[in-house]
């Protein structure tokens, strides 16, 4: 397929494999902060093409995985209400909350629908005026513009029966949080190409300066990732630190101004909890006061007593790059995609699920 096959070419892969091996002289650890990249790395066996001295860590880049338990519990509570149609992207449905998940709510009679865009929720709200429609607005900067657009449309169209359960997070504070951690092992980052397509990469420059660490804005195809790793290793070996843009076919330094404007108009920066990681200051997006009428948390006056129960799941450590899925004693034993202990085993972008599915590598 055009524009895809070119980026999955074995000869080019071989070239990068050799270039990386020729460049590297000492052990380095590189973290990608995008679930799509994690998925590609494991699906295409990219680790197999890298020298042993290069370790890849999978950061908190899966939007499903980092959505905090409280928000899942709120989603489950709302979805179970009478006269509510709860709309979500598909892979949120299996994520375990404290007691259950959205798929189970659906099986018990809740009207839970998989949608492909927040705009679908607008259509549903318009066609079901006697129902309250709720859209689960989760994700990184990539989903934020479309979600913001849907929220603005809802206000413009005076749709009184549509609201949004917000769990939007942003990447740079998460990178900073990892770098501030005393357990930090990361020498260089691959930044998420699609996040940067929206936001540009100016905001990564102060991070590079402050922490003296290379960041390479990288795409999702195997060739993108190999080239991104190569660029990162080249910086590490030469002692250079800067933001480099591997994904230049999509990313401009300033990002997409229209998308950034709509995010700005609807959302403001707020503190957010990240599942398994805890609260990171200024790491999320919340609705500006002009839009709070469309916040599902206000509309449904949820009174959920949330209590984090002890769990053997180490997804927090995995999301911070401190541990790898195979280092978890529960991995593939008591924690499987059929019975996930944590969100990283659920979404196909989650590191544990990706390892489970693809990296039981044949020996």
């Amino acid at each position: 397929m055009k524009f895809v096959d070119e980026y999955r070419n074995s000869q080019v892969a071989e070239k990068y494999k050799i270039a990386i091996a020729d460049t590297i002289t000492q052990p380095w650890t590189v973290m990608e902060v995008c679930g799509g990249q994690t998925h590609s790395i494991v699906k295409y066996g990219i680790q197999e093409l890298l020298p042993d001295s290069l370790t890849l860590l999978h950061g908190p880049g899966c939007p499903v995985c980092v959505t905090p338990l409280e928000q899942i519990d709120k989603a489950i509570a709302i979805a179970g209400l009478e006269k509510v149609i709860f709309c979500s992207f598909g892979d949120m449905l299996r994520v375990p909350g404290s007691e259950t998940n959205l798929l189970t709510v659906k099986a018990k009679g809740g009207d839970v629908r998989i949608v492909y865009s927040p705009m679908d929720a607008i259509e549903i709200a318009q066609s079901c005026p006697d129902k309250q429609v709720v859209f689960f607005a989760i994700g990184f900067e990539t989903t934020a513009p479309a979600n913001a657009m849907a929220i603005r449309q809802t206000k413009l169209n005076k749709l009184r029966n549509l609201s949004f359960l917000i769990s939007q997070v942003i990447v740079p504070p998460a990178i900073q949080s990892i770098l501030e951690s005393p357990n930090n092992k990361v020498d260089g980052f691959l930044a998420a190409g699609h996040v940067c397509t929206i936001m540009g990469y100016e905001e990564y420059e102060p991070i590079v300066k402050k922490y003296q660490i290379p960041i390479v804005v990288t795409g999702f195809e195997p060739m993108d990732i190999l080239q991104g790793i190569y660029m990162c290793v080249r910086q590490l070996e030469s002692g250079k630190v800067e933001v480099e843009n591997q994904y230049s076919r999509s990313v401009k330094k300033e990002g997409n101004r229209t998308a950034k404007n709509i995010i700005q108009e609807v959302f403001e920066i707020v503190p957010r909890k990240w599942r398994g990681v805890g609260e990171i200051p200024a790491s999320g997006l919340g609705l500006r006061k002009e839009y709070v009428d469309f916040d599902a948390e206000n509309r449904f006056c949820l009174n959920i007593k949330f209590e984090e129960k002890p769990s053997p799941c180490i997804s927090g450590l995995i999301l911070q790059g401190i541990k790898k899925p195979r280092e978890c004693p529960e991995f593939a034993i008591s924690c499987t995609p059929e019975n996930p202990l944590g969100a990283t085993m659920v979404s196909s972008e989650g590191a544990c699920a990706a390892y489970y599915r693809y990296q039981l590598t044949p020996k």
């Binding site: 070419n9 990219i46 992207f89 998989i114 492909y116 195997p222 979404s347 693809y358």
Partner: protein
């Protein structure tokens, strides 16, 4: 499609609209309206000497030693989709299950569960589609049943078909017959039915419409057997797609399977749709494709036969069977690395971004 068959849109339902244009509970009551459905819709479509005996069961003449016997139930939304409908699916699915034993499908039963309020016109179109599919697969529908459920308790129509087929060969076509060294062939492109249904159901509005591959494979299997291909195993690719079929066969045969990603035929539109939605075409359903295990020396001839068949033009040899201690299905990808294919946990769900 034969020229003598009018298109579905040209056919109108023979039941006068003044009586009832929709299914009511009375259509399942066993009385006059039930009789009317049978006489005016089912018998004219499926008419044959066995069905016309109007008895509780049909008597069929078994002039052969071994029978293949199968049953399957069909639920699909939407009922009519690009490339087929629940009727053609219900015929082809059961015909294909029979064909996978190398049987020549002969007789089918059809059980209908209709939801109150279903337009009779829709039922009529679906029955006509069954008639056409049965004619193409050269099978007779010899007995059937209809029930009606309350509005809201069904999904328009559910159909169950069971079927018998005659086995007129000495091959043991079964996963246990798979041997190390066998070549693995698929009869056509992967994932088209599943993506056609998803695109239609979710109204995804792809520029190039994806049509289902729903088709009967009994003709192709018959040709392979006639040509003397030593078929070790056949499996039609339905729910769970190629990957699921291969994992099941490898587990039963206790052998390792290796397939090559670059040899897998996938239609460009299906590939694109899967890329957009984050789905893996290896796990997406087909309804008119099979995977065949044959001795290496028969592989090229089998491929030629498949390719000469109307439903096998994109057939390809995709891998082989190996004797390894672990019964695994391994996919070699374009980069030269490999990964294991496993069964999915639940359905594939579209990814967020």
């Amino acid at each position: 499609m034969s020229d003598s068959n009018p298109s579905m849109d040209e056919i109108t339902c023979p039941i006068p609209l003044t009586q009832s244009s929709i299914i009511t509970m009375a259509h399942g009551g066993g009385g006059k309206l039930t009789r009317q459905l049978i006489d005016q819709i089912f018998v004219p479509a499926f008419g044959n000497s066995q069905l016309e005996t109007n008895h509780d069961s049909s008597v069929i003449d078994v002039g052969f030693k071994k029978l293949a016997y199968t049953t399957d139930s069909y639920v699909v939304c939407p009922l009519i989709f690009p490339g087929g409908d629940i009727g053609s699916l219900a015929i082809n699915g059961t015909v294909n299950d029979l064909a996978m034993s190398g049987a020549k499908p002969l007789y089918l039963t059809a059980g209908f569960i209709l939801e109150e309020g279903l337009p009779i016109e829709t039922l009529f179109k679906i029955v006509q589609s069954m008639k056409k599919a049965a004619a193409e697969a050269e099978v007779k529908i010899v007995t059937g049943d209809t029930k009606v459920v309350d509005k809201g308790k069904g999904d328009g129509i559910y159909i169950n078909t069971s079927g018998v087929g005659a086995i007129d060969h000495t091959l043991e076509i079964h996963p246990m017959s798979v041997k190390p060294g066998d070549a693995i062939l698929v009869s056509g492109d992967l994932g088209r039915h599943g993506m056609a249904i998803m695109a239609a159901r979710e109204n995804l509005g792809f520029e190039s419409p994806i049509t289902s591959d729903c088709a009967a494979l009994s003709g192709m299997v018959n040709e392979l057997i006639k040509a003397g291909i030593n078929l070790h195993c056949l499996r039609d690719l339905t729910r769970g797609g190629l990957a699921t079929a291969l994992v099941e066969i490898s587990e039963t045969a206790n052998l390792s399977i290796t397939i090559d990603d670059s040899k897998l035929p996938v239609d460009e539109a299906v590939k694109g749709a899967c890329e957009i939605l984050g789905l893996d075409p290896l796990y997406v359903a087909n309804e008119g494709r099979l995977v065949a295990f044959v001795p290496k020396e028969d592989a090229n001839q089998a491929l030629t036969i498949m390719k000469s068949h109307i439903h096998g033009q994109n057939a390809n040899i995709i891998g082989n069977v190996e004797e390894k201690s672990a019964k695994r299905v391994i996919l070699k990808n374009a980069l030269g690395s490999s990964r294991i294919l496993d069964l999915l946990s639940g359905e594939q769900l579209p990814r967020i971004c």
